[in-house]
């Protein structure tokens, strides 16, 4: 038996909008700690990890650990039927092959039930070790989205480098090059407008902009975004979900070929 009641229903809508472009089908895992999801995109380059802690729900009942396979596009279709102020309740019975989404209007004068079929999804669960990152950048999420969008109009990849000067996003394409440098800036009116750079070691990594742009679909979930970088590790782009948890995107970097591999052999 599973019953999760989320007063701020629009949050779930935003979560789905953030991940459905990257992943088609995924298993939602429910346990006593919370409602979570881990899924890779079809090419196994990017991974999304979502956590909504049980404390964030108005009512949370999960008798045993279960996973529910869903097509995210279909979930999104269901959730689009909910109003932005609606309270959303997720229900599933043991052994059943459906999940029910219940939408209640804030004034309790409209209650809608949507039942969706579940699916069997074979998915690999990756173990993500806790790591010390060489550099962690916190910045306004809208600013990050803007940078990714702008750079994508010029090139396919972005080089993100963190030095003591600041963080630099650069790209190169057929028409030319672009470089955007952000400096640490904490003297702002609102804390969410700050850019905070925490650097232990300089780092520079290359990523495909296509994925970065897909991650920025999570921008409505949070005013700030945290980018954690380490050489030889996937980048983590994290959007905190207030009082509930987070949505984290991992992206494998592009790797420069070894010197000896590029020399002709014959």
């Amino acid at each position: 038996m599973l019953e999760l009641r989320l007063v701020q229903g629009s949050l779930l809508k935003k979560v789905l909008e953030a991940i459905k472009e990257l992943v088609n089908d995924a298993n939602f895992d429910c346990s006593a700690t919370g409602f979570s999801l881990q899924a890779m995109d079809s090419s196994h380059v990017a991974l999304v990890a979502l956590l909504l802690r049980s404390e964030g729900f108005e009512h949370y009942r999960c008798d045993r650990n279960i996973s529910m396979g869903m097509n995210l596009n279909n979930v999104s279709k269901m959730l689009k039927c909910a109003g932005n102020d609606d309270i959303i309740t997720l229900k599933a019975d043991d052994g059943s092959d459906t999940v029910t989404f219940m939408f209640e209007s804030p004034t309790q004068d409209k209650i809608a039930d949507f039942e969706m079929k579940l699916m069997d999804i074979d998915s690999e669960h990756l173990g993500i070790p806790e790591a010390e990152y060489h550099a962690i950048v916190r910045m306004p999420s809208a600013e990050f989205a803007r940078i990714c969008k702008d750079l994508a109009s010029i090139g396919d990849t972005v080089v993100i480098s963190v030095t003591k000067e600041g963080v630099k996003f650069s790209t190169r394409g057929d028409i030319g090059t672009a470089n955007i440098v952000l400096r640490q800036n904490t003297t702002v009116d609102k804390p969410e407008e700050a850019t905070i750079i925490e650097m232990h070691e300089p780092v520079s990594l290359t990523f495909a902009l296509r994925y970065m742009n897909s991650f920025t679909r999570a921008t409505p979930l949070s005013n700030t975004v945290t980018i954690s970088l380490s050489s030889e590790l996937p980048v983590v782009v994290e959007y905190k979900i207030a009082e509930m948890g987070y949505i984290r995107f991992y992206l494998a970097p592009k790797i420069e070929e070894d010197e000896d591999e590029t020399k002709p052999q014959v």
Partner: protein, 404 residues
């Protein structure tokens, strides 16, 4: 066993059984009746055309192919090879008749059966691949065994060959941890790549690797005859019941099943378990390099009459492909772990023969031995076919099915 998109193998190192591919190219590429693609001197170039375009397709998808060529066949295979030789001779006679009679269908059929991969074909392809900057490995004996060994060693060392691509299921018997079918099919056929994982197959069949090898020997392999009357299904039943060929031989009804007098199953088993392979990294020299443009143009355009524009464009593609292969994969950073949550949805019951519901991905597979009398695979070799039941459920539906 799962279907995968061709594109999802980017960045993966894949060992390919070259002889099998060349054979397919000779049959399929640019053939009409007895006519084949040739250069000015009249030498066949179908294999070069095939190898060139398909390899570029792999490179463009970001894959890193390694071609493995056959070495000396093991002694046990000589009998099988002799059979193929005689079949080819028969086909040559039939072809002559068909040409005389002017029967187009027969000409097509028999001319395909006369196809043989010669040393010249192999050497041409090796030269082409080296010019393209794709590594070539010469197996001491069977290419499939060498492919399997590369894939196995990849588990431990830095070389990390992800899977073996072939159409011959022997690779599984040789212990390749992962096996891909239809990787080298033309894109126009739009067949998804079929990925088999030995560990999962064994788990689903509930067999050990030794039992699986015995099963393959019983079902028919290149190295010894099978027992008349025992096909894949009976073989699986017998292995399940008795556990090994030895116990089967002790218990089997000898009047019903005639065991060949000279049946070297133990040697066949040894060939599968300890095949002759190279595992030394130094000796293998697996490296991907930039293409030799001048060499390629010289070889393909001047010597073999390829269209110069096409070759130049293709070389550009190879160079562009280099960039794509640089994208890393998450698995090289994070390792899979077991998920603790149980699926809420109960999985399907055992042995489903009706067409499965669309949303539940069917994972039925049938096991049956089939004799490929046609020319699709090397001569009349007999192989074990593991097929996805859903697509072919009518012919194979009676096989042993599992749903997981």
């Amino acid at each position: 066993m799962k279907e995968q998109k061709f594109e999802s193998y980017f960045g993966r190192k894949i060992a390919i059984d070259a002889s099998m591919s060349i054979y397919q190219f000779l049959i399929v590429v640019g053939r009409t009746g007895t006519e084949m693609l040739t250069n000015e001197a009249g030498e066949v170039t179908s294999h070069l055309q095939g190898m060139f375009t398909r390899t570029i397709r792999l490179l463009e998808a970001g894959m890193k192919p390694i071609y493995v060529f056959d070495g000396q066949p093991p002694d046990l295979k000589k009998q099988e090879l002799a059979k193929r030789y005689s079949k080819r001779a028969d086909a040559t006679d039939d072809l002559a008749e068909a040409v005389e009679a002017g029967n187009k269908e027969d000409i097509e059929k028999f001319s395909k059966r006369t196809v043989k991969v010669t040393k010249q074909h192999n050497d041409d392809c090796k030269r082409l691949l080296k010019l393209m900057g794709v590594p070539v490995v010469e197996a001491p004996s069977e290419a499939e065994a060498q492919c399997a060994a590369l894939c196995k060693s990849g588990q431990a060392s830095f070389s990390l060959v992800y899977a073996v691509a072939s159409e011959d299921m022997d690779s599984l018997t040789f212990g390749a941890p992962r096996f891909l079918r239809h990787l080298m099919d033309p894109s126009s056929r739009k067949i998804p790549v079929m990925e088999f994982e030995v560990a999962k197959i064994l788990e689903e069949l509930n067999l050990t690797m030794d039992q699986f090898i015995d099963l393959c020997i019983l079902s028919g392999c290149d190295y010894c005859d099978s027992i008349r009357g025992i096909g894949g299904q009976t073989a699986l039943k017998l292995i399940r019941q008795h556990g090994s060929i030895e116990t089967i031989l002790e218990n089997i009804n000898r009047e019903r099943y005639q065991i060949p007098e000279d049946w070297p199953y133990q040697e066949a088993r040894r060939l599968f378990k300890e095949p002759e392979v190279v595992t030394d990294e130094e000796q293998l020299q697996i490296k991907w390099s930039a293409p030799d443009e001048e060499g390629l143009i010289n070889f393909l355009v001047s010597e073999n009459g390829f269209n110069s524009d096409r070759v130049t464009k293709a070389i550009e593609k190879i160079k562009a492909a280099k960039n794509k292969s640089s994208q890393g994969r998450l698995e090289s950073f994070f390792k899979p772990v077991a998920n603790t949550s149980a699926p809420i949805k109960r999985k399907g019951s055992k042995c489903v023969l009706q067409s499965p519901k669309q949303e539940i991905k069917p994972r039925i597979f049938s096991l049956q031995a089939c004799y490929s009398s046609g020319p699709k695979l090397n001569g009349g070799l007999c192989l074990l076919t593991l097929d996805l039941g859903s697509k072919h459920s009518s012919p194979l539906g009676r096989g042993v099915c599992f749903s997981a």
